[in-house]
């Protein structure tokens, strides 16, 4: 009776443990403003924003096969929208962040229609052109400071919370919330029908298409959702920085190069990869940052070596060795121990 000798499960033992540990860690992190120092809080906030950016880039490159080197377009766009909506629209910052997400989605639609005409690697450089167009366009807007940029007025900053520590806690919680939101959205998306289609496309585009999956549409949805969420993150990032300029907002190094290194080192095409990659990236940065340019060279070399020697990244190595999956996305077939004896 072969039907009884196998069991199909979705959630492995490791995933159960991970969800409990994850919940505990999350509670500890939410409470961070009461136990962490000001500098640590700031660092962790930044870490969460990078985690969210990396998870989104991973969704595009690792699942949808859309390798973008132009996500700084949306980070900068979101940042500028935050400044425009709060300064000229008079909106509270929190509403402006939601507005950035909405406008990010709206602008992503025509952009996708245009650059989806480019294939593979040419798509990558096409995204960079878009980011340049955004940067040059915002540099032309003299009301937002043109090429030299502008600062967020004090009263808008004060409107977040009256005390400095209150503002810092709020910024931290928003960053943490953004990371949790992004990872949850990606997780639920990948478990959904459309996510299954996406995974099929990742594994074999031709086969997926012959099963009736609309590849263009699936990728389009991923691109627009990623654009919206990346714009939201951009608004959050520049709410923390309080100052924006075209070069900082559309920096390819800050918002794309680091993000790509995080995903590649952690493990592309998995939800866990960007989490590990972010931790490694920040550990490297905190220990090597004093070296300045050398640190970036080391980072580049590490990324190249990982890409050549372990293309699935650190998480890929761990998963191969221990058969782990902390976010239950697939189904697992296991033989029952009793009957196989």
């Amino acid at each position: 009776m072969s039907a009884q000798t196998h069991t199909v499960s979705r959630i492995s033992q490791a995933a159960k443990i991970a969800s409990v540990v994850g919940a505990i860690v999350l509670i500890i992190l939410v409470a961070a403003p009461w136990w962490a120092g000001r500098a640590d809080l700031r660092l962790m906030g930044e870490l969460f924003l990078y985690l969210a950016l990396a998870s989104l880039w991973n969704l595009m490159a690792g699942y949808a096969g859309l390798v973008s080197v132009g996500q700084q377009a949306y980070v900068g766009f979101g940042g500028y929208i935050l400044f425009a909506l709060t300064i000229f629209g008079g909106l509270p910052p929190v509403v402006a962040i939601a507005g950035a997400a909405l406008l990010g989605a709206l602008i992503a639609i025509p952009v996708a229609a245009l650059i989806f005409r480019l294939r593979g690697a040419y798509f990558a450089i096409g995204t960079w052109v878009i980011a340049e167009v955004f940067r040059l366009s915002f540099a032309q807007l003299s009301v937002l400071g043109g090429g030299s940029g502008s600062s967020l007025p004090v009263d808008i900053v004060r409107s977040l919370a009256s005390s400095r520590s209150g503002r810092e806690s709020l910024a931290y919680w928003m960053a943490l919330g953004a990371a949790v939101l992004v990872i949850t959205v990606i997780y639920l998306f990948l478990r959904s029908r459309r996510g299954l289609a996406l995974t099929a496309i990742r594994d074999n585009e031709l086969a997926a298409s012959s099963l009736g999956i609309d590849i263009w549409r699936t990728k389009f949805v991923v691109y627009v959702v990623t654009g919206a969420l990346t714009s939201m993150l951009g608004a959050l990032i520049f709410l923390q920085k309080l100052r924006i300029s075209p070069d900082a907002a559309f920096s390819v190094n800050d918002w794309t190069a680091f993000v790509i290194f995080i995903v590649v080192i952690g493990g592309i095409g998995t939800i866990e990869g960007p989490i590990i990659g972010t931790l490694i990236f920040f550990a490297l940065r905190e220990t090597l940052a004093d070296l300045g340019t050398t640190y970036l060279i080391v980072l580049g070399v590490v990324a190249i070596v990982v890409m050549l020697k372990a293309p699935k990244g650190v998480w890929g190595l761990l998963r191969e060795r221990y058969d782990l999956q902390l976010f239950p996305l697939g189904y697992r077939v296991q033989q029952d121990r009793k009957t196989t004896d």
């Binding site: 690697a121 052109v129 040059l136 590649v264 190249i304």
Partner: protein, 287 residues
Amino acid sequence: MDWVNALVQGTLLGGLYALFAAALSLIFGVMRLVNIAHGDFIVLAAYLGLTVVMSTGLHPLLALSLVVPMMAGFGYALQRGILNQTLGDDILPPLLVTFGLSVILQNLFLEGYTADPQKMDAGLLETASVSLGSLSLGILPLLTFAIAVAVIAGLQFVFYRTALGRAFRAVSDNQEIAQLMGLNKRHIFGLAMALALAVTAVAGVLLGIRTSFDPTSGGARLIYGFEAVIIGGLGNLWGTLAGGVILGVAQTIGAKIDPGFQLLAGHIAFLLVLAVRPNGLFPRVSG
């Protein structure tokens, strides 16, 4: 008359962009590799030229006799040592490895040459000009354009008239069968990258004479080259020259309207072509 002048200057500028693009096009044609570090290779050539000029006192154009073989050797070694390992069905490895190379190169430039903009001094060549009616044409832009035409004609000749070009086309069409016919594709790819970086060396030195450059100048050059390739149509070298000219003209016309509009106008021209003719203006007819 100003507009005619802008048109002519833009056309000549397009020669330089075609030189940026030719190597990109060659590499993609032979091994389907899109090199994100291409712009940084151009800047590398400019820095090498600068170093040669400063240490030997040679004229920048004569320095090419050293920079070209250095870049070609670097290209061959890079291809055999690293890039060949990344080639395959998956587009991610070559993309990410060349992206990593780009970051490494930029930071090496920063360490070696600081962030200050540098420029090569070509003496009289920079200011000399000829008058054509009421137009004044710089000798350097004219020379750049002539070199671009010569380089593209040369590449065209290599591709379609020599044994090396036949090998390039063979591995491009079908790697496995080319291997069976006795070609070593790793070596052929190495030669293609060497040739591409030899062209890049010329482009980089001409860039370094024309304008100042700094460690982060590469990204924009990659984009210009890429835009010229796409505007002209993939796989068509003369189309690439036309693409470079269109880009150059769009930029000078844009600058004429408003100086801040120069770069944006070039990108807009590219996006327009992409919207109207996604395969470029002169796509190679695939038969």
